[in-house]
């Protein structure tokens, strides 16, 4: 099941490579069929998933190769081709698989040259993304992690905007810089613990000395912080988002950034809870500052797409905040918020793409009064903005609320700072909405714009429906994650206990020592 899910897109890509490049329609149909099949598998995986169990499900494990650590005395480590899905990954897997057919559909509107290559990269990317979320072996994880960079490099670099080369190389190098530091940590973890299976690593990582845990955590966290991106590692994001074609932006925002938060949860909080607890204040601060900072950044933008890109910095601040609050509510909210951000920002990018296809501009001052000529578009735009701004009843609110409530008990101060993001979020989103949709129709060329067509509606509606669904009945989604996340929060509690005892005993030691001196 899982290997089919992961590799079907790759097979599709190979099929498309083999097909003639001229019959664009056929290529698109094949890509759509493949992604729809994957989406069906993803949905059925989601439905069949038992959220109460903490352990990974649908596990698939076969030997892959043996890592030699030298013949003399050192351990050998068997690396496995090890896939499985648990509460941390199930939502992301489902989101990825559902998003792909929509992205393929949306690409019909804006990818008109080198379609074949585009679809190939898109499908390769799907394999990469699903692989990242499904891997339960850290070597495999790292494989997919870096492989998934390559398709986006091409997608941005070939089909992107004017500064695409700068943006794509920056994106690649920046991300890879983090990944390579992580590589050292991956090797370290495997070497120190003698296994590469993620569940086994999670179990045994707490046996390591605190300093070792700290540097491993730091190296992992750096890579993921760049990917998320957490302030101040965010500058690649705006460029990549702005230059990428719509499909690339959607995937980047909806899935690729989530690889960062997913990693932080999996390899930061879950694997090294003690180190995570120690450094949590830093991440809370960065998350909260990021929320406000991203909002300010977005507010100052004049390019609509860049504005949305900057808003991602703000929104992902919430995810980071929830992760490092390390409370039940915070973790659940954070995982849900990953999906929410994927949906709403994905929608925003789709919408920006649609208006860009018509006007060939993204500058805010070239719009105005679009609502008069494109009422359906405006409806979706306003809806998405509201979802993004966290209107209760829609998806964004549920996640944000859980995160903030979960963080409040840990750090009221940073929660208060983050809550101000609620205000600033409304400021820049509504500013953008007003400047695009409302007001008089000042630019004559916009008077002839056509409203959304059937294909575009078909792209948007599933996501909109999901937004409402999660907003109204989030429990179905939360419960899928509950088992695994509860185990993580138990681990966190244990770690807290452990740290307290550690601190206590040293305190007692000093007391004893002073007594002896007397």
């Amino acid at each position: 099941m899982l290997s089919a899910l992961t590799f079907l897109p790759l097979v599709g890509a190979i099929v498309i490579v083999a097909l003639p490049g001229r019959s664009v329609q056929l290529l698109r149909m094949v890509a759509l069929a493949v992604t729809v099949a994957v989406a069906a598998m993803g949905v059925s995986l989601f439905i069949g998933f038992d959220g109460t169990r903490a352990a990974a499900q649908n596990v698939l494990e076969t030997a892959w190769f043996t890592l030699p650590f030298g013949a003399s005395g050192a351990r050998e480590v068997d690396v496995h081709f090890f896939l499985g899905v648990d509460g941390v990954s199930i939502l992301l897997v489902a989101l990825t698989s559902i998003l792909m057919p929509l992205v393929v559909m949306s690409s019909i509107g804006h990818i008109n040259h080198r379609v074949k290559e585009f679809l190939v990269w898109l499908l390769v990317m799907e394999t990469g993304m699903l692989g990242v979320f499904l891997s339960l072996d850290v070597v495999l994880f790292y494989f997919f992690w870096e492989v998934s960079l390559v398709p986006l490099y091409f997608i941005v670099g070939i089909w992107g905007g004017d500064r695409r080369l700068y943006a794509t190389i920056k994106f690649f190098l920046y991300t890879v810089a983090g990944s390579l530091v992580m590589l050292v940590a991956v090797i370290g973890a495997i070497y120190y613990l003698g296994t590469s299976s993620i569940p086994a690593l999670v179990e045994s990582a707490s046996d390591l000395p605190a300093e070792t845990q700290a540097w491993l955590f730091g190296a992992f966290a750096l890579a993921f912080a760049i990917k998320v991106p957490i302030l101040p590692f965010h500058t690649w994001l705006a460029d990549a988002h702005t230059e990428a074609p719509t499909a690339g932006s959607v995937l980047l925002a909806a899935v690729l950034l989530k690889m960062g938060t997913y990693g932080l949860l999996r390899f930061g909080v879950e694997m090294f809870p003690e180190a995570a607890l120690t450094y949590a204040p830093v991440f809370l601060a960065l998350g909260a500052i990021g929320i406000v900072y991203g909002a300010f950044l977005a507010w100052a933008q004049t390019d609509l797409k860049r504005l949305i890109a900057c808003s991602s910095v703000s929104h992902l601040g919430f995810c980071v905040l929830g992760l490092f609050a390390m409370t039940e509510a915070g973790l659940r909210g954070s995982v849900l918020q990953m999906i929410n951000h994927g949906l709403s920002t994905g929608l925003l990018f789709l919408l920006v793409g649609m208006i860009y296809e018509r006007t060939h501009t993204r500058r805010l001052d070239r719009f105005g009064g679009i609502a008069t000529v494109m009422p359906v578009f405006s409806f979706f735009f306003v809806f998405t903005v509201l979802s993004s701004a966290g209107l209760p009843g829609l998806n964004g609110f549920v996640g944000e609320y859980m995160i903030l409530a979960g963080t409040f008990t840990v750090s009221p101060f940073w929660t208060a700072i983050s809550v101000s993001g609620v205000i600033f979020g409304a400021v820049y989103l509504l500013m953008a909405t007003r400047r695009v949709l409302f007001g008089p129709l000042v630019h004559e060329e916009n008077r002839k714009l056509l409203d959304l067509g059937g294909r575009e509606l078909a792209t948007l509606i599933p996501l909109v429906a999901l937004c409402v669904w999660i907003g109204v009945a989030p429990n179905g989604f939360i419960q899928k994650t509950a088992g695994s996340l509860d185990r993580i929060s138990h681990r966190v509690e244990r770690a807290q206990e452990h740290m307290r005892i550690g601190r206590l005993s040293t305190a007692q030691q000093t007391v004893l020592r002073t007594e002896v001196e007397r």
């Binding site: 920056k170 300010f296 509510a329 209107l391 009843g393 859980m402 409040f408 007003r434 129709l441 109204v472």
Partner: protein, 657 residues
Amino acid sequence: MGSFNWLWLLPFLPLAGSVCAATMHFGTLRARKEGNTGTRLSSIAGLIACGVMAAALALSLYAFIQLAGNREVTALESSSWAWIDAGSFSVELSMVVDRLSSVMLLVITGVGFLIHIYSIGYMKGDPGYAKFFAYLNLFVFAMLMLVLSSSLLGMFVGWEGVGLCSYLLIGFWHEKGWPAEAGQKAFVFNRVGDACFLLGSFLLIAIFDTLDLSDIANSVQANIGANSRLMALAALLLFGGACGKSAQFPLFTWLPDAMAGPTPVSALIHAATMVTAGVYLLLRLNPLYAAAPTVLFIIGCVGALTALIGASTALMQRDIKKVLAYSTVSQLGYMFLGIATGAWSAALFHLVTHAFFKGLLFLGSGSVIHGMRDEQDMYKMGGLRRHMPRTYITFLAGAAALSGIPLTSGFFSKDEILAHTFLHGGLYWPLWIVGIFSAILTAFYTWRMVALTFFGDERFDANKIRPHESPATMTLPLSILAVLALAGGLLNLPALHIPGEQALRDWISPVTAAGDAILYAGAQAHHPSLWLELVLLALGSAIALVFAHKGFHGFKNGWQHDDAMRSKRPELVGFLEHAWMVDSTYAAKIVAPLRLASYVIATLVDQMLIDGMVNGAGRLAMKSGSKLRSVVDGSVMSYALWMGAGASILTVVWTCF
């Protein structure tokens, strides 16, 4: 409990209506694209919306009868919906109608229904006719969610929902430009309050482990002492939320701007219902506030100050809707003043009567504007009583109630609040004086408005504008509201030992009992003695009559009085005209610096500093690469020199270390 599942219908019928109307709207647009007018579909939308409101009104009445019929039953509750399960806390939603919410229900559905009817006439011919009803119904849905939710978070759904609808409806005529900006402003100001609301809710979770409103209300008593400070903080934060929604100082400036929306919207949202949500929130959590006297005093100060600012600003407005808007701000201030004194029922009473008379006044002004072809400037009106008799009569009724002419509804409700403030004494004394002063101003500006609008010369070009009476769909709701505005006082007559006195207070006493118990700690609530009550009523009557007279006579022949003031005290007039300069202060002291900060962050910090470091790293690599090229100069000798040096250094290092 399960038998009350029909309560879910209350909010969701309007939602369904809204969806239907929205569908009609898109249908209309399509029809229009194909060349038809699509008015048929639109008018169906209007009918559906009104029908839904009628059904909601009927259900509300039914719920009220259920409650009234059986005094044992304190609340009707539907089954609950497990909304959010966050592990450490969870949110379950059910629809609850108790004594308090039943009153709100009747106001919302009753006034709402009338305004829907009114809108059929008012919005006729507007291209967004169906859309308007979709928004309006959506608003009712959100408002009912706000009122009926058993949980604070469910209330927040409605809370933000009404804010959204307000945003959409203010910007309904966005093509003009400024309505869209006004809508945005309203939403952002509300969001400031909402942020406080959220923080308050987190504190409540921390204190009570639940967001269920009745659970919170019941456990306040037990937490006094241990958690007093936290509860006070939570109360203050929630009041901050109320300030945003109910347009209290310092967050009131969005409400006058909100007049950019169609007038029925101003009547429904910005007078009768949404803006009173803050009052409702505080009433709902009355034990929490009762346990925090300091917070109550702060609320009192804010309320009194807002009443004063609103009333004084209304004095100098030319736009009829602006007068009403500032008046609303001011009247809301009275309601908060009432809450501050622990006069829960008085606040609710004023809320209800205000919904009647201010809804009436807004609708009346709408009728005037409608008749005057969208003219809102009172200086360009005058003498309209001849052209619009029904509007004129009903408007008089509303004005009477607003200014507190004896025996009208506003007279009783405002008086009760002031009486309680007076009785509270101590620090509340200055507040009472402010309240009285505001009442003076209120009477004055109300009748100034009446005089300028309906009396005197016709100051418009009668050839161009032919004022006409509005259709029956508009005047009928006016008449009904006029009756209510005049007779609304019967709901809660003062304690003068007459039958039916204090009916509203008795009705909601189960809800306020917990608050009262904390506030008075077992002692009797003070009640004004009969003679004091009579004196205060007399004082109120005198003020209203005297200053109504002054206002009316000063302006019945035009606005010369204003000009005189302007030339005499230009700074004062400017200060009042601009609502105490609050808005411009915000623009200069808050918005501009923040905007500057955002540009600084985006350019200096982000682009130049952070991204500069990133790009700088790349540039450094390139630059050092270029610099290093000179080493590879192609000369065999220099290569060999490097090799020799390298070998020597290797040798030295390895042998010596």
